[in-house]
């Protein structure tokens, strides 16, 4: 993956987070809490669970469609980060060959079940994380964190990180490109160069930090980053959370999917 792709991906996700849809306007706290509960519920399913995970795809699908987030984009990002989970998970079918079920005459090993479970959980958890940031601006998430009790110091510097993320990525790109233009082929790549580039970037970063601090002082900064109370919880936020929690509870503890299957089987008998 090149620098450019990463940079544009982050930029795109960042821009998507400022869109103007119902989902985007939900209070960040509601979305953060809902997402975390969703994730927790998903991973709380046992090792071999597959069927009961199906309904949970409704959550990311709703966020994605109502939030107008491009599907292919999300899927691509999911694929990019899948290697670790897939790589570890693939050992399951290799190592666990006990037969677990016989479906339509095919015998499935427990290992394949747990692997599939891992893949499904991966899809659900990763898409939920991506959709959280796609539908909630990063500053929104930060404000949610602070209102949820995270230390102000941590959140303040997190906001600074975000603010200067793109600035520093662009600066890094410039430095790298300048080097690329001066190195022909294999000479000029590798460790020494990398260290030099990082060193230069570091010094520039330090100078920038100094200038920013000066700018803050010039506008009266004396220790605490001030802020105005912004969002208030609205009815729709509470409704969103209530519905989500109800959904999670119902589909976690009641075998609805299997029930639907049984009903369907009866109907077709």
């Amino acid at each position: 993956m090149t620098f450019d792709t990463l940079y544009f991906d982050i930029g795109r996700l960042d821009r998507l987070s400022y869109k103007d849809t119902f989902v985007h306007h939900l209070d960040p706290r509601a979305k953060v809490i809902a997402t975390m509960l969703f994730l927790f519920t998903v991973i709380s399913f046992p090792k071999y669970e597959i069927v009961a995970l199906a309904p949970f795809f409704l959550f990311p699908v709703l966020l994605l469609t109502v939030g107008e987030i491009p599907v292919r984009f999300i899927i691509r990002k999911m694929i990019v980060v899948s290697p670790f989970a897939v790589f570890i998970g693939i050992f399951n079918p290799i190592l666990d060959t006990r037969t677990a079920a016989v479906i339509f005459g095919v015998s499935l090993s427990a290992g394949w079940l747990s692997f599939l479970s891992i893949l499904l959980k991966f899809a659900l958890t990763i898409s939920a994380a991506l959709l959280l940031i796609a539908t909630t601006s990063f500053p929104g998430v930060c404000h949610a964190l602070r209102r949820l009790g995270f230390p102000a110091l941590f959140v303040s510097q997190l906001l600074f990180l975000y603010r200067y993320l793109f600035v520093l990525m662009e600066e890094a790109m410039r430095i790298v490109r300048a080097r690329e233009m001066r190195s022909f082929g294999s000479r000029g790549t590798g460790m020494k160069v990398f260290v030099r580039l990082i060193g230069i970037l570091f010094l520039r970063t330090m100078d920038r930090a100094e200038r920013i601090y000066y700018a803050m002082l010039s506008r009266g900064f004396h220790g605490d980053i001030p802020s105005l109370k912004r969002s208030r919880i609205a009815f729709r936020d509470l409704a969103f959370m209530a519905i989500t929690i109800a959904f999670l509870a119902v589909f976690r503890f009641l075998p609805i999917t299997e029930g639907i299957g049984r009903v369907a089987q009866e109907l077709f008998r």
Binding site: R15, Y18, S137, F138, P139, C142, L159, F160, Y162, R163, Y164, L165, F166, V167, R208, R211, I212, Y214, A215, M216, L217, S218, R219, G220, F221, H222, P226, S227, L228
Partner: protein, 245 residues
């Protein structure tokens, strides 16, 4: 309005590494004046500006605004009176949204919410950027960032506006907007810049810094048309005075 008179009396400044950046700077700026600070790189323009709000303190000599002399204790007061706009707006817009940036100053002044919102509205209105309120700074263009940076300083309603290379990163159109905007400001303005044409347009008076001292101080039209003098100080005639050769 004597309490707005900016005065540098025999100001010397030496950096920790020994560089003598200012060697006896003297000048006086009265209320409402528009003064350009001009000089080659390294002449001391930025250093001079950094004394105006107490980021740097003179090694010897005094910096005063009205009755207030710059000391460690009076720095905060100076920062209320002098608003500095930096060369790189990215350094100056450090909050998550434009609104937050413009509100930063007033909030630090201890104002209540309603007054802060009013200040932000006024300041952004002054630079025609009200529609940018909720945007994060990194989504803005250079011209927009410059405008918002100015707003963030103006929101503190300083008596004196100091600017360091305000047009450096602007495209011609944004630059033109900036010049028109500055002409509408009634504050005392101190503008350090290489852009001699901008200085000509905006500042009726001009101070030339050379080797850490003031080498000329007078009407811009006069000083900036003196070719020989300018070249002596590693400068050139403003482009608008140069013929096409």
């Amino acid at each position: 309005m004597s309490h707005h008179i900016v005065e540098f009396k025999n100001v010397f400044f030496r950096y920790p590494d020994g560089t003598e950046a200012l060697k006896g700077v003297n000048f006086r700026i009265t209320h409402g004046e528009s003064v350009g600070v001009v000089g080659a790189n390294g002449a001391g323009k930025s250093t001079l500006l950094q004394h105006m709000n107490g980021y740097l303190m003179p090694t010897s000599g005094t910096v005063t605004i009205g009755d207030l002399t710059l000391t460690g204790k009076t720095k905060r007061e100076f920062r209320k009176k002098v608003g500095i706009v930096f060369q790189n707006p990215d350094d100056q817009l450090f909050m998550p949204t434009v609104f937050d940036d413009v509100a930063f100053g007033p909030l630090n002044l201890g104002m209540d919410e309603a007054s802060v919102r009013e200040r932000v509205r006024k300041a952004l209105g002054m630079v025609n950027s009200l529609d940018l309120q909720d945007k994060p700074p990194h989504h803005l263009s250079s011209g927009q960032k410059s405008a918002v940076a100015i707003a963030s300083v103006m929101a503190m309603e300083p008596d004196i506006l100091a600017m360091d290379e305000p047009a450096a990163n602007l495209d011609p159109r944004s630059r033109r907007s900036l010049i028109s905007l500055l002409k509408t400001f009634k504050h005392s303005k101190i503008i350090a810049s290489h852009d001699l044409d901008l200085i000509l347009d905006v500042c009726e008076r001009c101070i030339v810094i050379g080797g850490g001292a003031v080498v000329a101080d007078g009407p811009s039209a006069e000083i900036l048309s003196n070719k020989a003098f300018l070249e002596e100080n590693n400068l050139e005639l403003p482009l608008s005075f140069q013929g096409r050769s």
